[in-house]
């Protein structure tokens, strides 16, 4: 099995690559080749069959070079994120639209040389949906994005469908929920606080909460998200028909429910580190975001969400804090 991960230096790309390497190491199959690519050099191990490279899909010829080894599975996570795509219109379209199209065209050109139809797993986002929303967004709801990022992802979904229908690729698009708890430093993203109000207290630090506790949103842990991508790579796509974009299952929870889960897992000391700091601008942005989904299709296809917000918090403690809250409790 020959795998290509595009966007392998990002938070999710790194976790995906690590999981795939661990799976390969524990497998009795002969190791396949893995190529990790991003605009900065992705971290990698010294294993002979794993290679890392710098590549920008939006540059002419880059995609052809990346797929020259004819990978069986291509994970396409490479993207300019929402805020940047909104601030830099040209860069967003160049990377998120042209980059995706360049990849698909490179595969089509390769398939014209000799039969080749890789599984392409494309990460989309709940940003393809825009308000007003129904109570739960179903699998037939219109993709009417309210950002350039969402527009570029919705176009990518359409391309993956059409290239699959024509037999050039065997594509699966996964619309990821908002990932919590994101590891690392706080960032400027409008969605940052959803992770911050859990992550900072778990690390014994104060967190600011810019919205009210009844704000509801749609979540998955990084571990669940990696699980979606691997399942998308392994699943039988025959039952997908022509609609290859799947809203991944997630957990619908309010900010208040996040805080109660934090209390159950880490105690009152942790929740006392959350300070209300209302921010009208952030509240307005978040108000236009999806709150809940009906993902019966994804569930029937075998995708599995986190069971609870408690579990999401425990995943963070296990994967990022070495499995215990010792440090956090000490500093709290």
């Amino acid at each position: 099995m020959n795998v290509l991960v595009l966007g392998a230096a990002g938070m999710l790309g790194r976790k995906l690559a690590t999981t795939l390497m661990a799976q390969a190491a524990s497998s009795r199959q002969p190791p396949g080749r893995m190529l990790l690519a991003d605009v900065v050099l992705p971290p990698t191990t010294a294993a002979a069959q794993i290679e890392a490279t710098i590549a920008d899909l939006s540059q002419s010829g880059a995609a052809a070079r990346l797929i020259a080894a004819r990978p069986d599975v291509i994970f396409h996570l490479a993207a300019v994120v929402s805020g940047e795509a909104e601030a830099d219109f040209e860069k967003g379209y160049r990377v998120n639209l042209d980059g995706t199209r360049n990849l698909l065209e490179a595969v089509r050109a390769e398939s014209a040389r000799a039969p080749y139809k890789p599984r392409v797993v494309f990460t989309s986002s709940i940003a393809v949906f825009g308000a007003p929303f129904p109570a739960a967004i179903g699998d037939e709801f219109i993709t009417a994005p309210l950002t350039s990022y969402g527009t570029q992802k919705a176009i990518g979904e359409l391309l993956v469908n059409d290239y699959s229908r024509k037999g050039f690729i065997d594509g699966v698009t996964i619309r990821l929920p908002t990932i919590v708890v994101r590891p690392g430093r706080p960032n400027a993203a409008a969605s940052g606080f959803f992770s911050g109000i859990l992550r900072e207290p778990l690390n014994g630090q104060q967190a600011l909460l810019p919205v009210s506790r009844d704000v509801r949103h749609w979540f998955a842990s990084p571990r669940a998200a990696v699980g979606f991508l691997i399942h998308a790579a392994e699943m039988d796509t025959a039952s997908l028909g022509s609609r290859r974009a799947i809203s991944a299952p997630g957990l619908s929870a309010t900010v208040g429910e996040e805080i109660e889960a934090l209390r159950r897992v880490a105690g009152d000391a942790a929740t006392r580190l959350i300070r209300d700091a209302p921010d009208e601008a952030i509240a307005r942005i978040v108000n236009g975001w999806p709150q809940n989904f009906d993902t019966r299709r994804a569930v029937a296809l075998g995708f599995r969400a986190d069971a609870s917000m408690d579990e999401i918090i425990r995943v963070y403690i296990e994967d990022e804090l070495g499995g215990s809250l010792q440090t956090a409790e000490q500093s709290a």
Copy 2:
């Protein structure tokens, strides 16, 4: 008022240009400039303010040249049709996707030089929808096309929405029903018979019917379609919000209802010219097409459909046969 019509040599483009020229001639306003463009030279009158030009939007620089005079309204009808886009994958994407993007980018570049935000009326199609369908396709139904043409139109819709949201254009997308009665010769399009079973008998000629009489589809006359485009150019777009694609109102009718309308308007002699010639391939294609829409949004926005299939047939007689069935009745 300065108007640009792209795709002005096509059936609908010609009718739109003719209607706009007649409106301008009967108006007491000073005549505006009108530029008619297509990949072949569009027909035009000798009026000084009307100009025709050959241009291919997919060629570098073509779009910039076409909008150099900063038209107030741009009708973008230029497209490779469904069958051709399916047969020639590269040409379909080059013309229908790159051409549309080139136009929008040229407007954005022009608006960066000095304030400029033209009304852009983009013709989309019910081909953006793919089976399975609800009983009536509403304004929130997923755009899941089953053809490359439908994919390219759905992408165009997303781009028109995003460029409008960002303030580069003031866009309106109209999803046109299948146009009946198309004037001219029979063609090889799978949808051709919907017009043929009316047009050929009205011209005293035999027509072949490849599907059963209970097949239902969604129709508008060429005159109604031109009306949609002009209304889209004149309407107040404030109420559209961020969803600028509108499924135009139409008429849902079965083949049997088409034939009964033909009988009422042109008599038994006309309907006797229709001969059943079942074609499994065409039946299968048509089976995947929309049958009915719920267009309450378009109706609330002031778009008006044909009142009946009888009216659709009378529009053809008035606009294409000089208002009477004399010739057809004589030859029948």
